[in-house]
Symmetry: C2
Subunit: 590 residues, 2 copies
Amino acid sequence: MNKYKVKIIPENIEVQVEENKTLMEVFAENGIEFDFPCGGVGKCKKCKVKIIGKDGAEEEVLACSTKVKGDLIVDTSKKEQKHLILIEGVSRQIKANPSIKKVYVELPNPTLEDHRSDWTRLKESLGYKDGRTSLGLLQELPKKLRGSNFKITAVVVGDEVLGVESGDTSDKLLGMAVDIGTTTIVGYLMDLNTGQELTHVSSLNPQTKYGADVVTRITFASHEKDGLLKLHEEVINEINDLIVKATKQVGYKPEDIYALTIVGNTTMHHLFLKIHPEYVAKAPYVPVVKEPVIVDAKELKITINEVGKVFVLPNIAGFVGADTVGAALAAEMDRGDKLRLLIDIGTNGEIVLGTAERLLACSTAAGPAFEGARITCGMRGAEGAIDHVYLGEEYKYTVIGGDLPRGICGSGLLDVIAGLLEVGIIDRNGKLLPPDQITNELGKKYRDRIVQQDGSWSFVLEENTATGQPVYITQKDIRELQLAKGAIAAGIEILLEAYGAKVEDISEVLLAGAFGNYLTPRSACKIGLIPPELESKIKGIGNAAGVGAKIALLSAEEYQRAVELSQQIQYIELCAVKEFPEVFAKKLKF
Amino acid sequence: MNKYKVKIIPENIEVQVEENKTLMEVFAENGIEFDFPCGGVGKCKKCKVKIIGKDGAEEEVLACSTKVKGDLIVDTSKKEQKHLILIEGVSRQIKANPSIKKVYVELPNPTLEDHRSDWTRLKESLGYKDGRTSLGLLQELPKKLRGSNFKITAVVVGDEVLGVESGDTSDKLLGMAVDIGTTTIVGYLMDLNTGQELTHVSSLNPQTKYGADVVTRITFASHEKDGLLKLHEEVINEINDLIVKATKQVGYKPEDIYALTIVGNTTMHHLFLKIHPEYVAKAPYVPVVKEPVIVDAKELKITINEVGKVFVLPNIAGFVGADTVGAALAAEMDRGDKLRLLIDIGTNGEIVLGTAERLLACSTAAGPAFEGARITCGMRGAEGAIDHVYLGEEYKYTVIGGDLPRGICGSGLLDVIAGLLEVGIIDRNGKLLPPDQITNELGKKYRDRIVQQDGSWSFVLEENTATGQPVYITQKDIRELQLAKGAIAAGIEILLEAYGAKVEDISEVLLAGAFGNYLTPRSACKIGLIPPELESKIKGIGNAAGVGAKIALLSAEEYQRAVELSQQIQYIELCAVKEFPEVFAKKLKF
């Protein structure tokens, strides 16, 4: 038998191949990963490669059915480029392989000799041995097949056929990754074929009108008539609105969306699924479900394609939810042997510590100080917020949007308090000193900003503001921040202890979320939110939960990895740790 | 380590066992089949056995947790007896192991140390690694668990949890096997724990008002407004009525039923599932689905327990349906190396021929003659039907119910025609001879029963009838019967030829259905419906399709076997067999 030289690029592999082997066989035998969605029967036309003959002639062929008849070069790059997607923020490249797929097939017409049933014909043409489907699909199958002369596009998940569309519609396959924050909902509209983000949209979580944080929402769900139903419908309707808005922006329709991935904290997760979160808020704080939930969009009244599915990421515990799993996935916490720390700071600070070998997590009741809540002049990191402050020889600050300030957000608060500590205006216990007790030379420069209000001292940041009222921080604000930073710092210490590691063993500190992204590492370390030894190792990774949702949407393997992460991460309930109160008390100090 | 002598009865196995081994380990190591529904963790209390100590003291213990501490005898018979069920009609013993099960479990309460989610807690207590469930169950789970102090009964199929009930309800687990005949629907109400038939109920298929046979019903579905929906709703409503009737008879409620199995011909199957049977009736006669369909009872509006499932048996082809699969299952056509022939005679005669190695099937358009339809004085095998006739020196006949006759049913018709052939009143071509052409001495005795009506000859069976009108058969009736028997006889011949076997290779002829059960084998052979060589090998097996449905209901393995049978049986489309018209013409003769 003749043998020929086949060179595969860009892999740059050269092999001797027997005559008449198909390129599919060549790839399989040489460990080259390549998808054959229809099982290699020449139906889906998805396995196109470029071959370059000895004479330099180029031709586009199907790898499944093309036989080797002479020396040649096979260029698989067209395929590969299409599959690799760069995920920004976490700088990851992933291979697009969504859980939900479309496969175009042309079925042979039934004859007296080939009298397979409609469903057998379809599943066998898709290359499935044991295919699964719904009664609904069977009911519409005969008309669908005959109405399109047996040329159809199947919408599939694994070997389950969800739907059948007339003709070739395989280019229309969108998905949306949804991050349900307690305050904000963000939706990323993705093309599942190309992996490209088409647009993203966001809005206020309409549940906020029933309570600002998860505990008040759980109370509402428990005590108001139809409370759970109301909160559930609010979030569903808002997501449906975001779907309409996003698809409209880029010239698609909601029915072009076939999959949603969902991340959110455990309470948001439960409310989205109309599962009562009552017991999340009561000791021992157990969620109803932590496993991944995959559900028909129709069942949740999510208005995407009628056969669309919703893939909800798994939770870890009552206060470590699918958002943390998403962030851990984005940050690849399950890879590498260097100890890393991931902190997602919001009302709760979720902390994950570990390596590929072992991962621990806990949740700390940080309170909403970092989000600007319960702070006298606090506000979210929006236009008008003082986001950075510098107390040096010169006094400097920046305002989001650049106009006159309206208040101060988390990162600004952190800077001020760190600065006041540095210049000796706040002592280690968090006491704001009266002007006459300040001894630090630099601190003395700021004495006239310290004013008494209602018998307690405050520090004025700016009197000339957009509201006409000065922006300042009070002794009470400092106490709020102490509670928040103490909780997180204690969580870090308890996790390190449980892990059996020391601060200096940590190679990287990943901060997720808006606050984490905008804070000044030096300030975070100065106040002891993060151990000072780690200052140079701090890295903001943006909305990592949302990025995790996008990654899980684009790749079935990554969704599965999220499931494994949720099982792998060992949850430590701080309430059950005897030393916690002591460590917390210690960490309250600056 | 000490070793003890353990004798297991009734298996009568004696083994040496190391001290402290559990009986579960002993059973596993010695190949003794024994179920541990909760995985052997002591929760379900279903693995009770009797142990008899050296001193003769008897005790009932759990096999999963009882350790061997001395010589003993283990009696597993209580368990075994409960599991083995004798299925009458086909004389089969099967092990009750229904697809749907109930498992009572007592879950540990959540604590700060054991903070598993509700669902993790449940699935792990059931011994499932990857359990599955529905969103609906998750939504009700927290209240269900806490409302019953974490003592619940799970309704499961494999590792899928369908429902959760408070406390121990494991003794209430009914199922119904439903045989949807074109004319009659029969429901067998079974206790899935004991395998006992509690009662059976039947009624006229209400679809008959839209057409007597499958073809007229398909026409109705295709041409009438909402025709499919009407036919579908009729059968669903009738089954729901049968469910109410049957459960009432034995003091249960419809919600005590958790599973239905369904058999029926392909058209009945499709109408039950609201799948259009249009293409079953058009060449090349393909069904929409032949695979097994398992669907929530709720989706079909079948009013059993709200988590109940419907297990529809698979089809083989457009005219060989789930009823034939059920009959083949009941008759164990997939066992043995002796060639057997299974015939289910109705409007169509479905024929299966083969051994465990190879099975062939075909469907013959026998027409409804054997059911008494299109026969002048024909009627179904009900009260008043002449069911057996003997034309000897003395003229004898029997009537169902014993009163005056109202008409003649299939088995009676067969006897008359066989008798008339024997006494020379009908010739080999099927011609009813005028009185003056009869030469046979016995035949001459019956001359005065041959009368002319509308220019054609008839044979009068009885003038003194319940209706006041004579019961007789006409030349046309004989032609109808010839068509019916010719079709089946041709089918048998074609199958034998395809199989490469001869008539004399057949070891057994199994006749399913009422007609098959009541016919006189000698008559069937005399007219050539069945080759005469096989007369002594004919065996009626009753409503084998219904028996198959019962077996599949009681045992998940048997349901799976039905699925395999449907794949194993190779369908031969007689329309595609070139020789068929010729063989059929030959078989029309007596």
